[in-house]
């Protein structure tokens, strides 16, 4: 079999598995109990590996906040000393099958969602979403941020757990692929717009919340939190995407990208046929729409694992399904449509299940092929939140960003060295 045929066969298998995966939200646990190999002195983060010294402002802010949340430090100074003494292990989420938006910090006692792929038996994890603005994932860590995180652990988490126990007993969990599929027909692209997905999720979880018989006050607070946070299901969508891309990962000869991510300093990718080898380049600064009082000068280079959605064939790649998202991330409706069309040039397939009504129900562009990126010079273009470059401030806007070409070129070169003989 020629190399071309081997690649073709491998890519077909990888993308088929990505599309056929069936991610269900089955449970929620504290990170230390859910994620294999998690250690008390460990913090998971978004993007490729990073050291404290090279970390950007928002990443540092989130690390500080997580250490205070865990009770390992009582203030910023103590937290910084702890990290500088090397007493904290920083590890990328992706290396343990997890994902987190923006800084993506996950600490031992933070609750995580457990996604189970019913088709291939793969598990993936994602942390909880705090809402927008001043939140830990954007590098804020004041009293308000920390008390919200504690409420999420002490009330939201047990409530969700009780409801998911009921959902699991009833029908094996919540089928989140079906929710994404429907949300794409309701104006979401499922990266920066989760309005429909969150509503659908609330419809799904409501009977189980009732069945779980949680205290009425807790029920009301949890319900209000979900209702008032359109991004509530972003992290579930991301963990679902992680399960889909894990199904496509580690397939010999495949040139399909299985991770696209950023940590605020570097952007990084994985390629299926090259395993867990990171390819990195400086993370670009997003351009977009800013909250009142902030400008482009405040923007940090892009960060977050949320581009796992585009890796799996939705999010920014499905912007043509979500014209309203441009009011959040900037650009025009025409741009949203053009971006989706452009991404067909660098993807292996059109998704079998995720379709776009405006494009005559064509499947979304799915499975970035590093060869096609090199062939065309087009790189994945995604939408994203924008963090302030200083630690402690939080989210200042949302926008659009392109992954650097160098990532794909380096990966291609590594592929030539690995398989080119």
């Amino acid at each position: 079999m020629s190399l071309k045929e081997q690649i073709e066969e491998a890519n077909k298998k990888a993308v088929e598995r990505m599309m056929e995966a069936e991610p269900y939200l089955v449970d929620t646990k504290l990170a230390k109990d859910a994620i294999p190999g998690f250690r008390e002195d460990m913090l998971l983060h978004a993007g490729p590996p990073i050291t404290w010294e090279r970390a950007s402002g928002p990443m540092k802010g989130a690390i500080i906040g997580a250490l205070i949340y865990e009770g390992k430090a009582s203030n910023e100074e103590e937290a910084i000393k702890l990290v500088e003494r090397g007493e904290v292990i920083l590890k990328p989420n992706h290396e343990v099958g997890s994902v987190g938006p923006m800084a993506g910090i996950v600490s031992a006692n933070m609750p995580v969602y457990i996604i189970e792929d019913k088709k291939f038996g793969i598990r993936a994890f994602g942390n909880y979403n705090e809402g927008i603005g001043k939140v830990l994932r954007y590098g804020a860590y004041d009293k308000e941020v920390l008390s919200r995180l504690k409420w999420m652990r002490d009330e939201l988490y047990p409530t969700m757990k009780a409801a998911l126990d009921e959902a699991r007993k009833d029908k094996g969990g919540i089928n989140f692929k079906a929710i994404i599929q429907q949300a794409l027909h309701m104006g979401d692209e499922c990266h920066n717009r989760y309005v429909a997905a969150t509503s659908k999720f609330m419809n799904e979880i409501a009977p189980y919340l009732v069945k779980a018989d949680v205290p009425k006050d807790a029920f009301n607070r949890v319900w209000d939190f979900m209702k008032n946070n359109n991004f509530f299901t972003l992290n579930i969508g991301m963990a679902s995407a992680k399960a889909m891309t894990l199904a496509a990962h580690n397939i010999k000869y495949s040139t399909i990208v299985t991770v696209l991510t950023r940590n605020g300093t570097d952007a990084g990718i994985w390629v299926s046929g090259l395993g867990n080898r990171w390819f990195t380049a400086p993370s670009p600064v997003p351009k977009g729409v800013f909250f009142p009082g902030f400008t482009q000068d405040d923007a940090n280079p892009d960060l977050g694992d949320s581009s796992i959605t585009e890796t799996a064939g939705f999010g920014g790649f499905a912007m043509a399904a979500a014209p309203a998202v441009v009011s959040w991330v900037g650009g025009s409706v025409e741009f949203a449509v053009e971006n989706t069309k452009n991404m067909y040039n660098i993807t292996y397939a059109k998704h079998k299940y995720f379709t776009i009504p405006y494009l005559s129900f064509q499947g979304t562009p799915t499975g970035v092929d590093i060869r096609l990126v090199l062939k065309t010079g087009i790189t994945p273009t995604i939408n994203t939140g924008i963090a302030h470059k200083k630690a402690g401030v939080g989210q200042v806007g949302a926008g659009i960003v392109k992954f650097p070409f160098e990532l794909f070129k380096d990966a291609f070169k590594a592929y030539v060295e690995t398989y080119g003989a």
Binding site: S2, K4, T376, V416, G420, A421
Partner: protein, 282 residues
């Protein structure tokens, strides 16, 4: 209605030789217009591509096909190209001279580097669905061990699809490399063979002109830059330029590069290294 006035950014060094001559717009595409000399075969291009050549007039315009109609007549005068609907001002434009820098001391890419580039190219070419199944590649592979001659080249000229058939693109690249080696006073062994009108009749007018010009040592800047990088042994640049050239046209750039590296590796190593690599994987 007065003609629309455009301003050229560059014009090639062959253009002044055509002053007073008239041309017809033989092929009109979005980014490039092919002008054919009235009563002759000479080729002049109007192009919005940023790469230049001795026979090209470069303009900044989104869509040339919205301004120029097929069959439109143009005359090149002292300072402008005058058409019926469009006039292109050359007075502000820079002259593009195809300059080949001194190559003294250049040792060229080493054999293992050419092999690496061959692997890089081979893998990249898998992204072009038709490349490995093309008639042109099949024929190129058939003649790869023959001595370069009019007979062997005639098997490739006109082979394949496209405005410039793939076989012609390969031959253009091959001839560009051979003429590059000649004009750069290469220490590498020279190689020549005749390209005559009979051979050129086997293909389209535009394609035959590319072959003829390449044989004279006249080709575009991107092809030249590729040749220089390979000849100087600048691996990083060679890789970058391969990517740029590969993106030209449907698959024209792939075949031009294949011709170019074939010529240069025959001259330096006495064997078509990249072709051997590619053909063994067809």
């Amino acid at each position: 209605m007065p003609a629309k006035r455009l301003t050229a950014s560059f014009f090639g060094s062959l253009i002044p030789f055509f002053r007073g001559s008239s041309f017809s717009a033989e092929h009109v595409f979005r980014t490039t217009v092919y002008l054919r000399k009235t009563g002759g075969d000479d080729l002049v291009l109007i192009s919005s591509h940023r790469w230049r050549s001795p026979f090209t007039i470069n303009v900044y315009i989104e869509a040339l096909n919205e301004e120029i109609r097929p069959g439109e007549i143009f005359v090149i005068d002292q300072k402008q190209l005058v058409g019926e609907r469009v006039e292109i001002d050359l007075s502000q434009a820079n002259l593009y001279l195809q300059k080949i820098p001194p190559m003294d001391g250049a040792s060229g890419l080493e054999k293992d580097e050419v092999i690496y580039l061959s692997k890089f190219f081979s893998l990249l070419a898998t992204a072009w669905n038709a490349f490995y199944r093309s008639v042109a590649l099949e024929r190129i592979c058939e003649i790869r061990n023959e001595t370069l001659s009019k007979k062997s080249i005639s098997k490739i000229v006109g082979a394949g699809n496209g405005f410039t058939p793939s076989g012609d693109d390969f031959v253009s690249g091959l001839l560009a490399s051979l003429s590059f080696a000649r004009s750069s006073k290469a220490r590498w062994k020279n190689s020549e063979f005749a390209i005559d009108d009979e051979l050129l009749k086997r293909t389209t007018w535009a394609s035959s002109q590319y072959i003829k010009l390449a044989n004279y040592g006249i080709y575009d800047e991107l092809t030249l830059e590729n040749a220089i990088a390979i000849y100087r042994g600048d691996m990083k640049r060679a890789e970058e330029l391969l990517l740029e050239l590969a993106r030209r046209g449907h698959d024209s750039g792939l075949y031009i590069w294949l011709g170019l590296i074939t010529g240069l590796s025959i001259l330096k190593f006495g064997e078509p290294i990249t072709l051997n690599y590619i053909c063994n994987r067809c």
